[in-house]
C-alpha cells in the first residue's frame, strides 16, 4: 500500500512539474508576447514572402501563382504561394504561433475577429488605388475606422434562367421578371412534373437577398444595433415562404441537390439564385445547359441583392510588410484583377475594371450591374454562429413563422454586437 501511494505521489509531482515547466516555457520563451501591434510602422526586414490562399480550384491556384511569380521577378523579393485546405484553421495556427504567412486571403466573416485581436496590419491607407475600390467593399473590411484589408474581388447574386425551359414554357425576353409578382408568375409557368420553377439554397446567403429586396438589413449603418426583425425582413421571408409553399419553388436540398447550381444544372429547377461562381460549374459540369443571367427582381423595397467578398490580409507579425504591401498593390491592380477574372471568373474589386469585365463576360453583366444595389453580409465578430443558427431555422421556413425566426435571430445577433462593443 505504502509503495503504491509513494509511487502515486511521485507521478503527481512529476505531472505537476511538467505542467509548471510548460507554463514557464511558453510564457517566457515566446518572443511574440509584444501584442501591442497596433503600431502602424511597417517592417522592412527583407526576406521572402509567404502567400497563403484558399483556392477554388486549379485555375485559381495557377493564376495566383503566376501573378505572384511575375511580381517576384520584377521586385526581386522571393514569394511562394501555398494553398490551404482549411484557410481559417491554417490562418489561426499561424497567428497563434506568431509566424503566420505574410499575405493571405481573409474571408469577410473571419475578418473582424482577426482585426480585433491585432493579427492584421491596417495597411489600407497606404494603397495608392484605395479610392478605386467599391465603397461597400471598403466598408466590409473597415474596422475601427481603418481599412485593414484590400478587397480581393467580389460576387453578387443574380437570377439564372435556363433558356430552353424558358422558351418551351412560351416565355419571351419581355417576361423576364422585374418584380416579385412576376417572379411568382414565371416560376409557376416553368414548373412541370419533376421540375421546379425556382430553386436555391435554404440559407441566409440566398434567402437574405429577398430580405434586401424588401428593404431590410441585418444591422443599422454603423453595425451597433441588430435590425433583423424589422417589418421589411418579415415581408421578405414571408414572400419566400409563400414561394416555397406554392410548390413552384423549393430549396436545393429538398430536391436532393447540394446547391442551387446543381439543381439548375441537372434541370431539377429552371431558375436559380446564385453568384457568378456558377458559371465555372456550368462550364465544367453541365456544358450543355443554356442559360442567361438577369438581375434579381425588385421587391417591396426596391432592388436588392447580397454581395460576398474576401480580401488580401497582411500579417501584423510579417517581417517584410513593405514588400507585402507592394505585392498586394500589384495583385489588386486593374490589369491583374482582369487577368484573374479571365482565369477564374471573379469580379474585380476596383471600379476601373468594371468595363473590362463586361467586355470579358458580356453575357453576365447582370452580376456586376447588381453591385450598385448590393448589400454586404453580416460580418460582426462572432456573428457566424448566429448566421449558422439562422440558416438552421431557414431550413424549416416553409412550415415556420417568419416573425418568430427573425425575433430569435435578432436576440442572438444583438447579443453578439453588444459583446463586440
Amino acid at each position: 500500500m505504502n509503495r503504491r501511494t509513494t509511487r502515486r505521489r511521485t507521478i503527481a509531482a512529476l505531472a505537476g512539474a511538467a505542467g509548471i515547466l510548460a507554463l514557464t516555457a511558453c510564457s517566457g520563451g515566446s518572443g511574440f508576447s509584444d501584442s501591442t501591434s497596433t503600431a502602424q510602422a511597417t517592417s522592412t526586414g527583407g526576406g521572402s514572402l509567404r502567400v497563403l490562399i484558399g483556392s477554388s480550384g486549379d485555375a485559381e491556384t495557377a493564376a495566383v501563382k503566376s501573378a505572384v511569380a511575375d511580381w517576384a521577378g520584377t521586385s526581386g523579393t522571393d514569394a511562394t504561394v501555398s494553398v490551404a485546405s482549411d484557410l481559417n484553421q491554417e490562418l489561426s495556427q499561424g497567428f497563434a504561433s506568431g509566424q503566420p504567412a505574410d499575405v493571405f486571403y481573409v474571408s469577410a466573416d473571419a475578418f473582424q475577429g482577426y482585426a480585433s485581436n491585432g493579427s492584421l496590419l491596417a495597411y489600407g491607407d497606404q494603397l495608392k488605388a484605395k479610392d478605386d475600390f467599391y465603397p461597400t467593399l471598403v466598408d466590409q473590411f473597415t474596422y475601427d475606422g481603418k481599412l485593414y484589408c484590400a478587397p480581393k474581388d467580389f460576387s453578387t447574386l443574380a437570377l439564372i434562367i435556363n433558356t430552353d425551359d424558358w422558351s418551351k414554357a412560351g416565355l419571351t425576353d419581355a417576361d423576364v421578371p422585374t418584380t416579385w409578382d412576376q417572379l411568382t408568375t414565371v416560376a409557376k409557368k416553368l414548373t412541370t412534373d419533376g421540375r421546379k420553377g425556382l430553386a436555391f439554397s435554404g440559407e441566409y446567403a440566398r434567402v437574405g437577398a429577398f430580405m434586401a429586396q424588401a428593404g431590410g438589413t441585418m444591422t443599422n449603418d454603423d453595425g451597433t444595433q441588430a435590425t433583423v426583425n424589422s417589418p421589411e425582413n418579415v415581408a421578405g421571408l414571408t414572400y419566400v415562404r409563400g414561394l416555397l409553399n406554392s410548390g413552384d419553388a423549393a430549396y436545393a436540398a429538398t430536391l436532393g441537390t447540394g446547391w442551387g447550381g446543381e439543381a439548375f444544372g441537372t434541370n431539377k429547377a429552371a431558375m436559380t439564385v446564385e453568384g457568378n461562381w456558377i458559371t465555372g460549374a456550368m462550364t465544367s459540369d453541365y456544358p450543355d445547359v443554356k442559360y442567361k443571367v438577369v438581375p434579381l427582381p425588385a421587391g417591396s423595397g426596391g432592388k436588392g441583392t447580397l454581395q460576398f467578398t474576401n480580401c488580401w490580409g497582411i500579417a501584423a507579425d510579417s517581417k517584410n510588410q513593405g514588400a507585402a504591401i507592394a505585392l498586394v498593390e500589384h495583385l489588386t491592380s486593374t490589369d491583374q484583377q482582369l487577368a484573374f477574372s479571365k482565369a477564374f471568373g471573379v469580379m474585380p474589386s476596383v471600379q476601373s475594371a468594371a468595363d473590362g469585365w463586361k467586355k470579358l463576360y458580356p453575357e453576365m453583366t447582370a452580376f456586376i450591374d447588381s453591385a450598385s444595389f448590393a448589400q454586404n453580409t453580416v460580418n460582426a465578430k462572432g456573428a457566424s454562429d448566429v448566421i449558422t443558427d439562422f440558416n438552421a431555422q431557414l431550413e424549416g421556413l416553409a412550415k415556420g413563422d417568419p416573425q418568430k425566426i427573425l425575433d430569435s435571430v435578432q436576440t442572438n445577433l444583438q447579443a453578439v454586437l453588444d459583446q463586440d462593443k
Binding site: 510548460a22 508576447s33 501584442s35 475577429g113 482577426y114 430536391l255 454562429d385 431550413e395 424549416g396 447579443a415
Partner: protein, 389 residues
C-alpha cells in the same frame, strides 16, 4: 493487489522488516532507477510535449480571454474565471443552446450506437467463430474491412448511398416505401413517431421548460433522420473492430467447457447465454467502454459530411468545439466545450464501470440458496441455474 504483495517475496535477502526493505529497495534503485528513467524518458518527453503541454494550454485557454493571436501564456491574456463555462451552461444565449443541442444529438447517437454495435459485433464474432463455417477467413476479412477504410471515404460513400435518389432509397422503393431525403431531413425520429400517433405539437409542460436552452420537447426529438444515417454508419464501420475483440475472447473459451455444457444437456442458446457470455464479460466491458468513449467524440463524419446540418441536428460537442474555436474565434469557449466533453466521457465511463463491475454474484447466490430462504428472490437467469442444481 496480488502482484504487489508477491513482489516483496522476490526481493533480495535481508529485507524482512518493513523499513529495512524500503531502505534496501532504494539501494539498487540508485543505478537501476536511473537506467529506468533513462529508458522511459523518450516516452515521457513525447507524452509531455504532445499531451501534457497541450492539455495544460487548453485548460488555461478555457479560463482565459485569449483571442487567438500569439501564445496563450503571453502577458496580454488574462484570467476570466469560469466565464466561458458559464456562457455554455447557464448563459441562456446561443452558445448554451448550441451546446445543449449538440449534447442532445450526441446522447442519442451514443444511446443507439453503443448497444447496436456491441450486439452486432458479438453476433458476427459468434458466427465467424463456428468451426463448421466455410471460408471463415473471407468472412472475417469482409466484416473487418469497413474498420480499415478511412472514415472520410466511408462518409463520402454514405452521402452517395443515402442521397435522395441514392441506392438506399432505390431499394426502399422496391418495397413501395418513399425514402426520406436522408441528409437533408432534420425531423427527429421520435417526433415523427409521435406525429404519426397524432401528437405533433408540444404539450405546454414540455414546450415551456427545458435544459440548456432546449425545451424538453426538443430534447425528446430523438436523433434526426440525418443523424440516423450516421448512426447506421457508425454501427457498420466499428462493429468489425469489436468483432475482432470478441473473436479473440471466443477463441480463449476452451472446448471442454462447451463440451461439459453439452453433456449437461443444454440447448445452443443456453450455452451461449449462460456459458459463453459470462466468460466474455471482460471483453464486453472493454467494448462498451471503448464504444462510449469513441461515440462521444464523433467528429470526422460531421466535418466531412454535414458540418452540423440539417438544422443543427448532427451538431456534436466535438464539432461544436472546433467550430466555436476556429470559425467563430471564441477560443475560450471552444476549449471549455472540449473540457466539458472530457468530463462527460469520464463520468459516463465511471458510471458504466460501476454498473457492470465484476460482482461475485454466483457465490453469493449459492450462499443464499443454501440458506434456503431467498431462493425465490434470486433474479432472472439465476432461477434456472438454481433449479437445475
Amino acid at each position: 493487489m496480488t502482484s504487489l504483495s508477491s513482489a516483496p517475496g522476490r526481493a533480495p535477502a535481508g529485507t524482512r522488516t518493513g523499513p529495512a526493505r524500503r531502505g534496501s529497495a532504494r539501494g539498487p534503485s540508485g543505478r537501476q532507477g536511473a537506467a529506468g528513467w533513462l529508458f522511459v524518458s523518450p516516452t515521457l518527453l513525447v507524452l509531455g510535449l504532445f499531451l501534457v503541454i497541450p492539455v495544460v494550454m487548453a485548460a488555461w485557454v478555457s479560463v482565459s480571454d485569449w483571442t487567438g493571436r500569439g501564445s496563450p501564456f503571453a502577458s496580454g491574456v488574462s484570467y476570466v474565471g469560469a466565464k466561458n463555462y458559464a456562457a455554455l451552461l447557464t448563459g441562456g444565449g446561443l452558445a448554451t443552446k448550441d451546446f445543449g443541442t449538440s449534447l442532445r444529438n450526441n446522447a442519442y447517437y451514443v444511446l443507439l450506437v453503443v448497444p447496436l454495435q456491441t450486439a452486432l459485433a458479438l453476433f458476427l464474432a459468434v458466427i465467424v467463430n463456428r468451426r463448421l463455417l466455410r471460408g471463415r477467413g473471407a468472412f472475417r476479412t469482409a466484416y473487418y474491412f469497413p474498420s480499415v477504410t478511412s472514415s472520410v471515404a466511408i462518409t463520402v460513400l454514405w452521402l452517395f448511398l443515402f442521397s435522395t435518389s441514392g441506392v438506399v432509397n432505390g431499394v426502399l422503393a422496391w418495397f413501395g416505401v418513399h425514402g426520406p431525403n436522408w441528409f437533408a431531413d432534420p425531423d427527429g425520429v421520435l417526433h415523427l413517431v409521435l406525429g404519426s400517433l397524432g401528437v405533433d405539437t408540444a404539450p405546454a409542460g414540455l414546450a415551456d421548460h427545458g435544459l440548456l436552452g432546449i425545451s424538453w420537447w426538443d430534447w425528446l426529438a430523438g436523433p434526426s433522420v440525418a443523424m440516423s444515417a450516421f448512426i447506421l454508419m457508425a454501427v457498420f464501420t466499428t462493429s468489425g473492430t469489436f468483432m475482432l475483440l470478441f473473436l479473440a475472447a471466443l477463441q480463449n473459451v476452451s472446448g471442454e467447457v462447451e463440451e461439459a455444457a453439452v453433456m449437461d444437456g443444454t440447448s445452443g442458446w443456453q450455452r451461449f447465454r449462460f456459458v459463453t457470455l459470462p466468460m466474455l464479460r471482460p471483453t464486453v466491458f472493454t467494448v462498451v467502454t471503448l464504444g462510449l468513449i469513441g461515440t462521444w467524440q464523433v467528429f470526422d463524419q460531421i466535418y466531412t459530411g454535414t458540418q452540423g446540418g440539417p438544422a443543427k441536428t448532427t451538431l456534436t460537442p466535438a464539432y461544436l468545439s472546433y467550430n466555436t474555436a476556429f470559425n467563430n474565434q471564441q477560443w475560450g469557449q471552444g476549449a471549455a466545450i472540449a473540457f466539458l466533453l472530457f468530463a462527460i466521457i469520464v463520468v459516463v465511463t465511471a458510471l458504466q464501470r460501476l454498473a457492470t463491475r465484476d460482482r461475485a454474484v454466483p457465490r453469493r447466490r449459492r450462499f443464499r440458496l443454501a440458506d434456503g430462504t431467498l431462493a425465490a428472490d434470486a433474479a432472472g437467469p439465476g432461477v434456472q441455474e438454481g433449479g437445475r442444481r
